[in-house]
Amino acid sequence: MATSFSATLPLHGSQENRLLLPPIRLAPPPSSFLGFTRSLTIPSSRRLYHAHAARRSPVVGVQEVVKEKKVTNSLVCILITKEEGLVLYEDMILGRSFEDMCAQMYYRGKMFGFVHLYNGQEAVSTGFIKLLTQSDSVVSTYRDHVHALSKGVSARAVMSELFGKVTGCCRGQGGSMHMFSKEHNMLGGFAFIGEGIPVATGAAFTSKYKREVLKQDCEDVTVAFFGDGTCNNGQFYECLNMAALYKLPIIFVVENNLWAIGMSHLRSTSDPEIWKKGPAFGMPGVHVDGMDVLKVREVAKEAVTRARRGEGPTLVECETYRFRGHSLADPDELRDAAEKAKYAARDPITALKKYLVENKLASEGELKTIEKKIDELVEEAVEFADASPQPGRSQLLENVFADPKGFGIGPDGRYRCEDPKFTQGTAQV
């Protein structure tokens, strides 16, 4: 399957590996801001046959790559250090445990509404977000719990938010689909698909503005996560255009899990290869195995470095899969059991565990310790959320306006926000 966008991945230099990830050449570097033109040469030699066919698994898993290397090289090329490996493992375990706990809590009646779980897709979140700094921004969709956790929002804050408690990251006002954190630059959490992509484009615009107008040292990048269904939405294309046009430091990450509730990607998209839509707008389009955290991380490194250097946006399509239904209300009857089994066998956590153990980066015991630690963390988060108070009536009218004068002037001549009932949440507005 075509793609991958740079040959400079350090560990893929051997002949054999080049077959797996054929490099493409990028056009030469940046030109001026306004209306530049450049040609991008992408080899179009490989066209994958897609129509009505079941999806192939064109990119091999980490295990095979490692095996290849062991066979061809006497030295084993390891993609990560032990510390990095443990960080990645812990983050993915946190995502998985947290989401499993959410399911439990939902069925016990502790959280309500639409809850969309991320099981199976952890490699994408961990692969990208663990490369970011605190001042980089992440924008997500309604499937945002794990993005928030990876970005650094505490499990307690997310769980409390899900329970609708005042200690939640959004004071209980946002809920499952609106995880925001100013401290960690998690810019949400959006309920409508595609809605967050322009917001991410705006955050990237601010980075560029800070650098070029305010003359500050700003290397912040923005990563926008969204799904395959969103790639048929106008906002996606409008933002690809603007991001490429203004060379914004943004990475568009498509979490292609093949399904938009019950609509298969192949049934709703004329050309299902989403990565191809990048070059159409003048940015590299990359396809990567989203069940393999190390592969995702390598691609992410390149994309983030590009963005920080001011070379503009990248579109990354991650082939991934959600093990659960679209949301906890989805009976998930439409998807083929064989398909689910195939992807379950490619569980990213199991794959990473195997990699770490086989390459002697960590022992089973160390990994078990991490798992236990995370279990306790998640349990503690639930206890914390349970014990937290629910929002009081006084919170109803707060935060509607940043400046509450926006509620206007009442008949008595005073601003409504000066009315004592306002802070009690019972004022007439």
Partner: protein, 404 residues
């Protein structure tokens, strides 16, 4: 420009009161609001004297002056001030704010090199550069969302819709993100955007370019809406909107861009939540905004000749309504006529009628009458177009009817 004076002294000078108590204004305890009295030159058109103290005006005239705008139209015989057209006033306000704060930027179609399709951003791209005055591609939803994302991360964008009607394409972003993100993020992110553009019925522009979007946006929680109608309040509202931490939608009108007026040289801003007293009167309260203000004033001339004394208030703040100014007027005159360009169904007038009935029912001697545009897509033909919009003759008839 006349001043309004704070305190009971001025109040008694105005008129005879209704027997019910008039509550005195007591806004001094609101943090951040400076002295309300404001100022400038002494005399107005001579019909009313407010007994102003000239020492007060001297003291305040050099400071930044929030205008609580109970003012009549600018006295062109005043010595200070400069004359300009409404679009130039908007440009002046925008330029001053961009000079003052480097985080203020503009984005929209043709705002940069073209100078804005109504010349509001003329010359700004040359002065501030292509990134601060951003020419966007034609993608309202995306660039409005981009402005919102930029606002969340520290900038203060002014987003222009080339025609307000185009912002229908940005409705997703305006409603879901602009209005709601401050709340759904638990107050963590502010969205200090200004969304502005011309709307209203022009000269045979056709149905789609003649829309009044204020009625569609009014239900969105979390936004403020203001409509400018004179060069003075255009500049003042533009500046206030940019400085506000809330998202503000500033409605301009296609036919008002060439209005000329003399405005003060010194810096001033208008209060976003306040209404403007255009012509104090006794017999009837006429509430209006934007272009209809001028139709009302034309009708007022005729009415005055016929012996009526209408009080005309430009409500300016479409969301929220300034129920204090409006209420005081209703309590004085007991009759209300709303004249607007919005559609009859679900328009600003409809909401205002409901608000007045709810809050001031006891003070009314007659039902609130609302003159709005017909619920008709604005036709191209000049004659038909004229009949969809409220004309001065209809206003005169309505006043005569109400005042029987």
């Amino acid at each position: 420009m006349s001043a309004i004076i704070h305190g009971a002294g001025a109040a008694t000078a105005l008129t005879t009161f209704h027997s019910k108590k008039l509550v005195a204004r007591s806004r001094t305890n609101l943090p951040g609001r400076s002295k309300r009295c404001i100022v400038a030159s002494g005399s107005d058109d001579g019909s009313k004297s407010f007994g102003s103290s000239s020492s007060l005006s001297l003291r305040h005239s050099h400071k930044l002056i929030p205008n609580n705008a109970v003012a009549t139209k600018v006295d062109t015989s005043a010595t200070t001030g400069h004359e300009l057209l409404l679009f130039e006033a908007l440009q002046e306000g925008l330029e001053e704010e961009m000079d003052r704060d480097p985080h203020v930027c503009v984005m929209g179609e043709d705002v940069g090199h073209y100078g804005g399709s109504y010349k509001v951003t003329k010359g700004l791209a040359d002065k501030f550069g292509d990134l601060r005055v951003l020419d966007t591609p034609i993608c309202e939803n995306a660039f409005t969302g981009m402005g919102i994302g930029a606002a969340m991360t520290g900038l203060r964008p002014v987003i222009e819709g080339m025609n307000m009607g185009f912002l229908l394409l940005a409705f997703n972003q305006i409603s879901n993100n602009c209005g709601m993100l401050h709340y759904t993020s638990g107050g963590q992110f502010t969205i200090p955007v200004v969304i502005r553009g011309p709307g209203g019925v022009g000269r045979q522009l056709g149905a789609e370019h003649s829309q009044r979007l204020e009625s569609y946006f009014q239900s969105i929680p979390g936004i403020q809406m203001v409509a400018c109608s004179t060069p003075y309040n255009a500049k003042g509202l533009m500046k206030a909107a940019i400085r506000s931490e809330n998202p503000v939608i500033l409605f301009e009108h296609v036919l008002l861009y060439n209005l000329k007026e003399k405005i003060p040289d010194e810096e001033y801003i208008c209060n976003l939540e306040e209404a403007e007293m255009v012509r104090p009167g006794e017999h009837i309260t006429i509430l209006t905004y934007s272009r209809m203000r001028y139709h009302v004033m034309q009708a007022a001339k005729i009415l005055v000749n016929k012996g009526y004394d209408p009080e005309v208030i430009d409500i300016r703040s479409l969301k929220p309504f300034d129920l204090y100014t409006i209420g005081n007027s209703v309590k004085k005159t007991h009759r209300v006529l709303i004249v607007e360009e919005c559609m009859r169904t679900g328009g600003i007038g409809a909401s205002l009628t409901a608000a007045i009935n709810e809050n001031f029912h006891d003070y009314l001697d007659a039902p609130v009458m609302c003159l709005s545009s017909q619920d008709v897509p604005t036709p191209y033909a000049g004659t038909l177009e004229e009949w969809t919009v409220v004309q001065p003759a209809q206003i005169v008839t309505a006043v005569e009817q109400l005042c029987q």
